[in-house]
């Protein structure tokens, strides 16, 4: 749905986007991550025809954004990082204005505006002046505006910035709903945990270059990270360590600090936590459980270590900004 080929954008001597290649499939939610000044917003602005690329090309639904601007705009809904509002318009009027701007017929507009107001839960605010809305409400209105012409692609530049936790959760739910409606969504955010939960794929950009693109699972081998499992056993954990260390799939076993038993039952004694690191490309949770149970160790829990998006982001980027 979105294809970017060798996209480059320079502002004088500053290279904002540097030979960027990217592909986002139809119906995907793609998280676009990078430090401030990495080139995320510039890339998005090129995709929505606000900027022209210096070199390279970008295609949306097979249309060249540099050459077929009007057709591209018909297919794309763009929400900028800072949403400007016409301070003398009401919510309904604001949305109808953009409906008219996208060439929607007068007879159909009311139904469409009512529909997006309902979807974004703004029906009760339709008579309010746009600039009297709270930040969260304005963001919702921005999303409503983006949906007014039913675009195939949504490009959202930090839609959750400045929102409180409740509004963020609501925004996340709304995005999931849009995915169910079949929209392709490109979303940038600094709140990485937000993206982790909703994105199918992510792209990490730094210094105008894409340093990674793929699923979260694909990041692990890219970073040369081995799988780890956190194992909690009853007692000292020495026996468990002996049993696991000899397994050929396991590279190392470390005893982490002993903790009191979480169950709190008397007579259980303190529990121990072991961090088991598999050799690269190896992962066998079942083997650990079988080995420990057969060896007579009381296994309390077994939890694979998750690679957090924050960790991947920190490891892949150097914090270089323009």
């Amino acid at each position: 749905m979105i294809e970017i080929k060798k996209l480059t954008k320079t502002f004088g001597s500053l290279v904002a986007v540097d030979h960027l290649d990217l592909f986002i499939g139809a119906g995907d939610i793609f998280g676009f991550i990078g430090p401030n000044g990495a080139g995320k917003t510039t890339t998005m602005r090129i995709l929505v025809t606000l900027l022209e690329p210096t070199y390279g090309a970008a295609f949306i639904d097979g249309l060249d954004v540099g050459k077929k601007g009007k057709e591209v705009r018909r297919r794309v809904g763009y929400m900028p990082d800072f949403m400007g509002v016409y301070d003398d318009l009401k919510v309904f009027e604001y949305l109808e204005f953009f409906a008219a701007a996208f060439g929607i017929e007068y007879a159909k507009r009311k139904a469409i505006v009512d529909g997006v107001l309902e979807l974004t839960d703004l029906v009760s605010k339709q008579d309010a002046l746009v600039d009297s809305l709270s930040r969260g409400m304005q963001q919702r209105l921005g999303l409503a505006r983006v949906l007014i012409h039913d675009p195939k692609v949504l490009i959202l530049d930090e839609p959750a910035s400045g929102l409180d936790p409740r509004a963020r959760i609501e925004m996340r739910e709304l995005l999931r709903e849009l995915k169910r409606m079949g929209k392709t969504i490109m979303i940038s955010s600094h709140i990485l945990s937000e993206l982790e939960e909703i994105c199918d794929r992510i792209g990490i950009i730094e210094h105008g270059k894409l340093v990674f693109s793929g699923t979260l699972e694909e990041i692990r081998p890219r970073l040369g990270l081995q799988s780890k499992v956190r194992v909690k056993v009853l007692g000292e954990g020495i026996r468990a360590m002996e049993l696991l260390s000899v397994l050929p799939q396991i590279q190392s076993v470390e005893v982490m600090a002993s903790q009191p038993s979480s169950s709190g039952l008397s007579g259980e004694g303190p529990g121990s936590t072991l961090l088991v690191t598999f050799k690269e490309g190896q992962m066998a949770d079942g083997l650990i459980a079988r080995t420990l149970v057969n060896g007579g160790v009381d296994l309390l829990s077994l939890q694979p270590e998750q690679l957090k998006l924050d960790d991947a982001f920190l490891q892949l980027t150097k914090g270089i900004v323009h």
């Binding site: 025809t49 400007g84 109808e96 008579d127 600039d131």
Partner: protein, 585 residues
Amino acid sequence: MKNMMDLETTSLRWRWWAASLLPRLAGPIFDKEMRVSSRRRRNYVLRFLYIGLFTFLASVVWLDSLVRSTSSVYQASRMAAAGQTIVTAILWFQFLTAPAIAAVMLSTSISDEIYKRTLGVLMTTPIGSFQIVIGKLMSRLLQIVLLLAISLPLLAVVRVFGGVPWSFLLCGLCVTLTTVIFVGSLSLFFSIFTRQAYAAIIETVLAMGFLFGGIPVLLAFLTDKVVSPPTLMRWLSYFNPFVVMGAAMEALYMARPAVVAWPLHCAVMLGLSALLLLLATILVRRAALRQAGGIVDANRGTNPPSTIRRVQGPPVLWKERRAPLFGRRKLRRVAEIVSGVVILGLLLLTYGLCYRANLLRDTETHVMYGVVFFSVGVLFTVILPATCITTEKESQTWPLLLTTTVSNWEILWSKFAGAARRCLPAWVLLFAHTLVFMGPGTIHPIAVVHLALLVAWVVFFLTSTGLYFSTRLRHTTTAVIANVGLAAGLWAVFPLFLAIFLGVMTKTSTGVIETYMDLNPFVHAGVIVNAAAHRGGLGTYDWLQRGMGSLSDATCWMALTFAVYVSVGLVFLTRAAARLRNNPF
């Protein structure tokens, strides 16, 4: 010895106190403003322009004052007169330009802080509102004082020729300086109430026009039977710098002592400035507290809801049509209506005075009204179109509009129509005056046709250039200044300098300047009304280049001017359309 040491310590203390007075008065704001101003390109451009104009004027006046073809004894004897001319020209140049620069520079002083929401933050620091006001004023005035100081060496050198007493120089400089302080204070005061700098500039200009132009004219009319002209002049001289400068100039050329006491005038102007600054201090604090407490937004949110209006026709045009001709906020709307009523009342008073003096049948009276009303129309038309797109850029709605499927030309024509619509009320006065006096036959009906033609091209041209600058530039104030600068350059500064230059170089009329001036819309307005308000029917059209006095010839010339300006306007409009999507942020 101890006394000596005590004296030295006291002297040091005094010097330290004096040196730290300004920073203590103005606080960190002064320091911050000085740093920021050194990084602003527009300040350097302003200085460059000022010095360029100053040098050009000084050179031209110098060349014009030189006596070339006579004996050296005669030349030496004429140097005093040359010195007088040069000093007079420089002082008038400074007197007219420095207050204008002050009005522009101070117009953003408080509004910037309000717009960027930093005023409320400042109030959470130990900085007081007095320090904010004084810091802003002093930092910007300092730059104007530097510009004034540029002329001092030249003035000192020219004084060697003789003929110019020190008192005259001192009077000119002090009156200019106090006028600058007053105008700067006025601009700062208005900047508390408006978000846009151009609005503060216009309000300052109108206030100055009323104070220094309107009041003297009214006083002259109202007191002509009671007060003698010298007494009236003395009264006016206390608060009118133009009167003081005029009187000082007259005294210089007539070689007699000045009739007005300029030190008293300077003291009055400083007192008025202090009063304005005191008011500004109080109001700045209120504005800051209002911002910090969010009272403005709260009021805005609780406005009673009116009906929702459906979007009909082209959306951008609908939006432009919807924009109110008067302010949306209740207080502002009331203030504007009250101001309108006051202005209208004063206008009717002038008509009444003219009627009493039996001047309403005089051609000159109608030419004066025609040109004044025409100027009001031009003022609005030169400003409003330049704000159309930059205001959208400033409120960050411009990128949203550009990502819709509305075409460039549709956006541009809608903006054009919206701007023209907002300008129309400003032209009502001109046509109302013409129509009212057409009834009793004082003004010939053809004036309506000619004025309509004139207004049409003026609106088209200025709206096109305004839209061009609005697409090209990022800030509303810069776009407005650019459009005003273009109009002023084209119709005032360029012909003035061309006339001076040609006058110096050729000493005879070449006809170039006259032809150029006959393309000037103000000349058109004057010529049209002059011919139409002629006693005993339609008179001849007195163009500067002579000829074309008949109705058909004059109409042809007007049509030709129309074609020239509309063509140039179309070029600007085409460029605006081409640039519409460049630099949308």
